[in-house]
Symmetry: C2
Subunit: 436 residues, 2 copies
Amino acid sequence: LHSGQDETFKDSFEALHEYEMGQAYAGLPDHLRSVAWRLLDIELLAMAFDNLDSNDDETIALLLEMPPQKAVQVLRSMYADNEVDLLQQLSSRQLATYLSLMPKKEAEGVRNLIDYEEQTAGSLMSTEYMAVEEELLVGDVMQLVKRHANEAESISYVYVLDNQARLVGVISLRDLLTHPDKLRVSEITNPRVISVKAGDDQEDVAQIVADYNFVSIPVTDDDEHLLGVITVDDILDVIGEEAVEDYSGLAAVNVSQVDDSFWQSAIKRIPWLVALLILGMSTATLINHFDGLVQKASILAVFISLITGTAGNAGTQALALAVRRIAIGNTKTPVKTFLSEMLTGVVVGVVTGLAVFLIVTFWKHNMELGLAVGLAMMIAIMVANLAGYLIPVAMDRLGLDPAVASGPFITTLSDLTSVLIYFSVAQLFISHFIGK
Amino acid sequence: LHSGQDETFKDSFEALHEYEMGQAYAGLPDHLRSVAWRLLDIELLAMAFDNLDSNDDETIALLLEMPPQKAVQVLRSMYADNEVDLLQQLSSRQLATYLSLMPKKEAEGVRNLIDYEEQTAGSLMSTEYMAVEEELLVGDVMQLVKRHANEAESISYVYVLDNQARLVGVISLRDLLTHPDKLRVSEITNPRVISVKAGDDQEDVAQIVADYNFVSIPVTDDDEHLLGVITVDDILDVIGEEAVEDYSGLAAVNVSQVDDSFWQSAIKRIPWLVALLILGMSTATLINHFDGLVQKASILAVFISLITGTAGNAGTQALALAVRRIAIGNTKTPVKTFLSEMLTGVVVGVVTGLAVFLIVTFWKHNMELGLAVGLAMMIAIMVANLAGYLIPVAMDRLGLDPAVASGPFITTLSDLTSVLIYFSVAQLFISHFIGK
């Protein structure tokens, strides 16, 4: 980027893929980037920013390097969904400055978009769509498509509105291309248009797009007025994010930043571990309470980890299935699911308990001990299974994200109940295996 | 579907969305479905089947209800990627029958597609794409697009081939629409076409499509000959599948079938639980080996579950991050990652060990016991953390899917090492806290 090489830089930047523009721009050393944003057209800068992660605070930092006037120009040339994602990360003061630099009507529109709650359809949509009224001819609409092709985020569909701007149908570009120009578009309009509401959860929207194989889906308000469209690239991000969230929850660690330094990584893991450690202390206190029993029969100590471990595993399985069922939508009634999960717990508990009974009886040549351990295992598994199922379901009912009820939380909680069950059962049998 | 209502059925079926056609067809009672496939056009049936899950054995069962001649007609009208997915589920005998009913050249093409390994780009691609040579004019290509719009799976891009059928560029439909008919397409061809190889892993392909916001991506052989395209709807499925696999692995339960009956669900969970139970038995045996120690100091039993539980949690965190890092591609060198993970383990171990030391010392007014438990906790966490990191990495190196090293496997394994560490450390300190 030395003098005289400006044109070369501009040309080679322009030849890049949009995604590569974003990567290249973000990757420039600071002093070159401050030359670059002066040099490059607003349109190219907007392309680069449209292809960076608009929820990442590094992206907004790149915008804040420029004077507000320039930054606002870039934002205005971006797709509305990305623009709004970036603006949401500004302080309210910065946001006010930026909005004051936009035409009043546009600022108002942007503010409306900012108001949509995160993780809803409204927060994903962009407003660069194509819509027509039904009276037009195919040829007219094609002219319109050609004129707006470079602004619209997706040109695969043109939406049809009635005279009150309500969504009444959809025309695919495919149909426009394969029908004669003189035909009225009402002839090829599909009135069974699938749309979502602005307040719908993004996971539900992703499910519909995946099921129907759409490349974009329209978003309306409660009165069917078209507000925007969500394109499939945003849906890809949603599916990825949701998967990472559920996965992180199951492991009690945020896996979204795998490139953290060892220090950052440790800082993120320790709070969970220490919180669980404190919960684990209650299990230790409980065992301490049964110290008299252990003193009489030290053999009881042998099976503590077997019972807590196995019950924890069963609880984790039930948890994972419950979280997943909530994520993709349940097809059975809550009562049916509950009964089914109860029965599963019973079958799993009985089979595993029986296996433990046999193993312990033959190992220790002590049927009473085998009975105590087997019975405790059976009950502990049923309880852990039920907790693994009920906790995420209850959290979901309370409007909390069930993925937060992590696997380690369930196993640590199940340690407590398992130990209680184990020693209570052992107490009943103790007279039979002391002294053996 | 009684006589006389055939036309009504046909019309209402035709008015459905393609996805709904699939659902409706699969949802018909058996006796009505056998009327339906006689009644409906091959094209409509193919649409319905294109929108059912082509990897599901229920979908192939629906095809097998028809006579082979009819089934083959439907298959041939489907997109090649779905057709091949279905054919792959047939026995080799059934496959031979079906292929024999196709024109020879087509059967050969299908057989080539079947040969691509699962989870590669080749297994996802369809062969219904549009390609041209560079000498054409924009208007000519538009004519071609219009002619083939209904066959191609995606019309967003037209690929440009050289005279040896090698992929040399791509033209977007957007550019075709916004440039004059008389222009040579070489003027608007983007020579920086991003493509994948047929043998590439589907996860890598998904990452590229998500990064670049493509709606389709071309697939070539090693000599850049265009073989097919992968559309974004298949990528959505890949991202979903991979997420479910990783998630299932972490919980040691296959969560892909949440609608199983309680019996099926139990059958799937029991093998894992019993296998882990047997691994858990070795921990029990180990504690049994230290029975003399427990008899002398029953207080040791109190902290077994605290140490195994916390180390297990730390191991699960390390595992989840390692699996995720493998899935999305590591940006650091293996040595750096290893060192970073080691250091994280040390920091997490020291902090948690210190917390335990303080808690136990104050609770039991016994610093030696606190020291023993805290030290054991520290070492157990470091070991579990390292195992949680190393096992999936080693599995990946051996060409195995790291997600199979499940969370419960790591916690059960870590129970064993934690108990060994705990009792070994306790043995060193035993003289100090016996009799206190």
